[in-house]
C-alpha cells in the first residue's frame, strides 16, 4: 500500500462518514407506488380488464412435511380464553438475509401442539386448519395443519403479493401484481378444486384485497402518494368490489388501510386499523367511515369481541384492550412471538 493509496483511503472514509437520512425505506416505497400507478394508468383503458394469470394449482403435489414431526412443541400458554393462536411467523429484523430462513409456528388443531415449519405464512383459513404458505416466494402451497402435509402449487410466483381466505373457507383471494406488465388486481383460488381463476385487473393500487365479512365481495384501501417521500402514502377510501372486479361502493375511511378480514369486528360493523402516521389504532364505522375510538398505540392483531381488541403494545406485549385503551388482559407469549410478521388467532373449538 503506497502513501497515496493511504491518503485516498483516509479521504474516502472521511467523506463517507455521514449519518444516513431518516425515512429512506418510506421514500423508496413511495417511489415504487408512484411508478406502479403510472404503469397501471398506461395499461388499463377500461376500469376492469380480464387477462390470464400465470399462477396455477392444476397439478399440486402432496407430500409429508418432514419438519412437522421433527421440532419440539413450543409453549402452549399462548391460548387465551376464547381464541387460540393458530400460527405466527417471523420475518422482521435480520430476516432479510440468506442465512435466516422463514419460519412459521403452526398449531395442530387435533392435538393442540405447536410445530415449526420452514415456510412463510401468507394467510390462514378462518378455522386455522389450513394455511397458505410460501417457500421463499419461489413456491406456494397449502399446509394442512391436521396432517402436516403441504400441497404445493405449481406455477406459484412472487407475483402474488398477499392473500385473504374467504370466511367460508373455500376461496383464497390472491392480490397479484404482475411483474411483466405491471398489471394489478386479484385472482380467486378455489381451494377445493385447486384452481386459480383469471387475474381480475382493477384500476387502482394499494392493497391487499381482503374478503369483506359477508363473503360476497372484496375490499381494498386504494392509496396515492402524499407528495412527501418521507411520509407514507395517503389512503383514499375503502373500496368494495364484487368478484368480477366491479366497483360496488366506496366508504370514506382514510385513517389507515384494511389489511385482513380480521380487521372487521365480529358483527362486521366496525373496522380497526393502524393509523399510518400516528401508529395509533383507530376504530371506524364500517358503513360511514366515522371514527368510533382511538384506543391505543400499537399493532393490531384482531378483535377479541365486539368491544375489545387484541393488539401488540409498544413494548411488543400482546394484550387485550377495550375501546378506551384499558388493558384487560396480558398474554404470556414466547419472545419469538413478540414481534411476528403475521399472527393468526382463531376461535377455540
Amino acid at each position: 500500500m503506497t502513501q497515496l493509496q493511504d491518503e485516498v483511503r483516509r479521504a474516502l472514509r472521511e467523506i463517507a462518514d455521514a449519518p444516513p437520512p431518516a425515512g429512506l425505506a418510506a421514500a423508496a416505497i413511495a417511489r415504487v407506488r408512484r411508478r406502479r400507478r403510472r404503469i397501471a394508468a398506461a395499461v388499463t383503458g377500461a376500469a376492469v380488464v380480464f387477462v390470464s394469470v400465470t399462477i396455477g394449482l392444476s397439478t399440486a403435489a402432496v407430500r409429508p412435511d418432514p419438519q412437522w414431526q421433527a421440532d419440539p412443541p413450543i409453549s402452549a400458554t399462548l391460548a387465551p380464553d376464547r381464541w387460540v393462536v393458530a400460527a405466527y411467523s417471523g420475518l422482521t429484523p435480520g430476516s432479510a438475509t440468506k442465512e435466516q430462513a422463514d419460519w412459521t409456528v403452526a398449531r395442530n388443531p387435533a392435538t393442540g401442539a405447536y410445530r415449526t415449519v420452514p415456510y412463510r405464512l401468507v394467510t390462514s383459513a378462518p378455522a386455522g386448519d389450513r394455511m397458505l404458505v410460501t417457500d421463499r416466494g419461489v413456491r406456494g402451497g397449502i399446509l394442512d395443519a391436521n396432517t402436516g402435509r403441504t400441497a404445493w402449487i405449481d406455477g406459484y410466483s412472487n407475483d402474488v403479493l398477499d392473500a385473504s381466505w374467504s370466511p367460508d373457507g373455500r376461496t383464497i383471494a390472491l392480490t397479484v401484481s404482475r411483474k411483466d406488465d405491471g398489471a394489478f388486481g386479484f385472482a380467486l383460488l378455489d381451494v377445493g378444486r385447486r384452481h386459480v381463476g383469471q387475474l381480475v385487473e382493477v384500476d387502482t393500487t394499494g392493497g391487499p384485497f381482503v374478503w369483506a365479512p359477508d363473503g360476497q365481495s372484496l375490499v381494498i384501501s386504494p392509496t396515492h402518494s402524499s407528495g412527501d417521500e418521507a411520509l407514507p402514502d395517503v389512503v383514499e377510501n375503502l373500496s368494495h368490489f364484487d368478484l368480477t372486479g366491479r366497483l360496488l361502493r366506496t366508504v370514506p375511511i382514510t385513517a389507515g388501510a384494511v389489511r385482513a378480514t380480521s380487521d372487521f369486528s365480529p358483527d362486521g360493523g366496525r373496522i380497526a386499523m393502524s393509523d399510518w402516521v400516528s401508529q395509533r389504532i383507530v376504530v371506524v364505522d364500517a358503513r360511514t367511515g366515522g371514527v368510533v375510538a382511538r384506543p391505543a398505540t400499537g399493532a393490531m392483531v384482531g378483535w377479541y369481541d365486539d368491544n375489545h381488541l387484541v393488539m401488540y403494545d409498544s413494548l411488543g406485549t400482546m394484550v387485550v384492550v377495550d375501546l378506551a385503551g384499558t388493558v384487560v388482559h396480558t398474554y404470556d407469549i414466547p419472545a419469538e412471538a413478540r414481534n411476528p410478521s403475521t399472527m393468526v388467532l382463531v376461535p377455540r373449538r
Partner: protein, 172 residues
C-alpha cells in the same frame, strides 16, 4: 406490496442504512446526490423484494448503486453543475497545510469520472479484491487494475500538493 414485505423491507433498511449510505457518500461525495442514489437503488430493490430478500439484499443494493452511478454519468447534463451546500474554501488564508491537502484530495476525487471513483471506492472504502470489483462493474480484473492506476495518476495531476506532501513525508 403487502404489509409483511413492507415491514421486512423497512426493517432491513433501518438495520443497514448507515452502511449503505456510507457507500453512496463514497460514490458521490455529496449528501443530496448520495440520498438520491441510495433511494433509487432501494426503490429498485423494493419492487423485487420477494426475490431480493431471498438472495443477498445488501450486495444487490451495492451493485445497483455502483451501476446506477456510472449509468447516471452517461446522462446528458450530468456533471455540468455540481451542487454544494458549502462555500468554496480556496480563498481562506488561515488553513494549515494538512487541511489544504485534505480539501485538495476531496476536490480531486470529486473531479474523477464516476467509473474511476467507483473503482477507488470499491478498493479503498469497501476493501474488495479486484476480482469482486470486476464482477460488480462488469469488466475484467485487469481493467480494474488499469482503471485504479489511472485514477491514482489522475489524482496526482489534480492534487499536486498531495505529491509534494508525500515527498516531504518521505524525506522525514
Amino acid at each position: 406490496m403487502d404489509a409483511e414485505a413492507r415491514r421486512d423491507f423497512t426493517a432491513f433498511v433501518e438495520a443497514r442504512s448507515a452502511a449503505l449510505f456510507r457507500t453512496a457518500m463514497g460514490l458521490t461525495g455529496h449528501r443530496q446526490q448520495a440520498e438520491d442514489l441510495l433511494q433509487s437503488a432501494l426503490a429498485k430493490a423494493f419492487r423485487h423484494w420477494p426475490r431480493v430478500r431471498d438472495g443477498h439484499p445488501e450486495a444487490y443494493l451495492r451493485q445497483a448503486m455502483y451501476r446506477q452511478q456510472i449509468s447516471w454519468f452517461r446522462r446528458p447534463g450530468w456533471g455540468r453543475e455540481i451542487v454544494s451546500d458549502r462555500l468554496p474554501e480556496h480563498g481562506a488564508t488561515d488553513r494549515t497545510a494538512h487541511v489544504d491537502l485534505r480539501l485538495g484530495l476531496r476536490e480531486a476525487l470529486n473531479l474523477l469520472p464516476p467509473k474511476y471513483r467507483a473503482v477507488l471506492v470499491l478498493r479503498y472504502l469497501e476493501d474488495l479484491p479486484d476480482d469482486e470489483i470486476a464482477v460488480i462493474l462488469r469488466c475484467k480484473p485487469v481493467t480494474v487494475r488499469t482503471q485504479a492506476s489511472r485514477a491514482l495518476d489522475r489524482i496526482r495531476e489534480l492534487c499536486p500538493e498531495l505529491e509534494h506532501h508525500l515527498i516531504e513525508e518521505n524525506r522525514r
